[in-house]
């Protein structure tokens, strides 16, 4: 566990939770990124603008952190594009089918004590663990 970063992890988590709280308190909305992205992708009238602004903020917030603290971001290099394309497609398809992702089910849903979200989170974490186990340790792709 030499790469464990508990302080920044907890602080980042507190910020993510605060962002979710702000969105519910002011706009009455759940901060589920896949749902917000899907809504912005095929906009309904009156619902596209706030979603686009949230996504813009997501990009700007991460950029701001890295601009202030460049050594705090280590991009990955030499990763196969095929895995990103296949992985991205499955993430898009699966989050649409399952109605949420790490933020919508994993953070907001669990915080609302939604059984659907608790089960979905358990399933996607388990599926992710098994996938990495197969790729890294059984197939030995080393990625």
């Amino acid at each position: 566990m030499e790469n464990f970063t508990p302080i920044s992890a907890l602080l980042g988590g507190v910020l993510i939770g605060s962002a979710a709280a702000v969105l519910l308190w002011l706009n009455g909305r759940v901060a589920g990124v896949s749902g917000i992205f899907n809504g912005a992708l095929l906009p309904q009238s009156g619902e596209a603008a706030w979603r686009a602004m949230f996504l813009l903020g997501l990009v700007a917030g991460a950029s701001l952190y890295v601009a202030v603290n460049p050594e705090g971001y280590a991009p990955r290099t030499g990763f196969p594009a095929t895995l990103l394309v296949v992985g991205g497609f499955l993430v898009g398809f699966g989050t649409r089918m399952g109605g949420g992702c790490t933020s919508g089910h994993g953070v907001c849903g669990i915080a609302r004590l939604s059984i659907r979200s608790v089960i979905a989170t358990a399933v996607f974490v388990l599926a992710g663990v098994v996938t990495v186990l197969v790729i890294r340790h059984l197939v030995g792709g080393g990625v």
């Binding site: 464990f4 980042g12 962002a19 519910l24 933020s103 609302r112």
Partner: protein
């Protein structure tokens, strides 16, 4: 507040929420897929950081949502819009499993993938383009067809 001022405020609130969210994702290194995959790699050099990000976020959201839930409506909108479904159906389980496989392959989920779009890595736009295609494919395969058959059923 006028309708226009309310709409501007709602967009500003969404921007502020996104900013804090994206800053938190970068601060916690969740925009780095190596960090995420190190959490999922329980048989390797396991890194529990992601679990602490989730715990911190859930704890704050849990207590904040309880406080906010006492209000009759949000500050800038006519009502709260929360998910209401409770049934554990097949699309929930299968969808979550498909998402988890993709997450384990790429090391990104939607939030970090979008947040990383401004960080100069080629990975983020490739991942997000594929994510959009996957989402649209699901819509095209299941949602439009289902609406069509619902409509056909209504005609019968």
């Amino acid at each position: 507040m006028s309708k226009y001022a309310r709409s501007v405020s709602k967009n500003a609130a969404a921007l502020a929420s996104g900013l804090v969210f994206g800053f938190g994702l970068a601060l916690s290194h969740m925009v780095e897929p190596t960090k995420v995959l190190a959490f999922l790699d329980v048989a390797g050099r396991w890194d529990p950081s992601l679990a602490l990000v989730m715990a911190g976020a859930v704890a704050v959201t849990f207590f904040a949502y309880r406080q906010i839930g006492r209000r009759s409506k949000p500050l800038l909108a006519p009502h709260f819009l929360l998910p209401t479904r409770s049934e554990l159906d097949r699309p929930l389980i299968v969808g979550a499993a498909i998402f988890g496989v993709g997450w384990g392959l790429a090391g990104y989920c939607p939030g970090p993938g979008i947040a990383a779009l401004g960080l100069g890595t080629w990975e983020a736009p490739v991942f997000i383009a594929a994510l959009a295609a996957g989402s649209l494919a699901h819509r095209w395969l299941f949602e439009t067809r289902k609406q069509g058959s619902d409509r056909a059923a209504a005609h019968r």
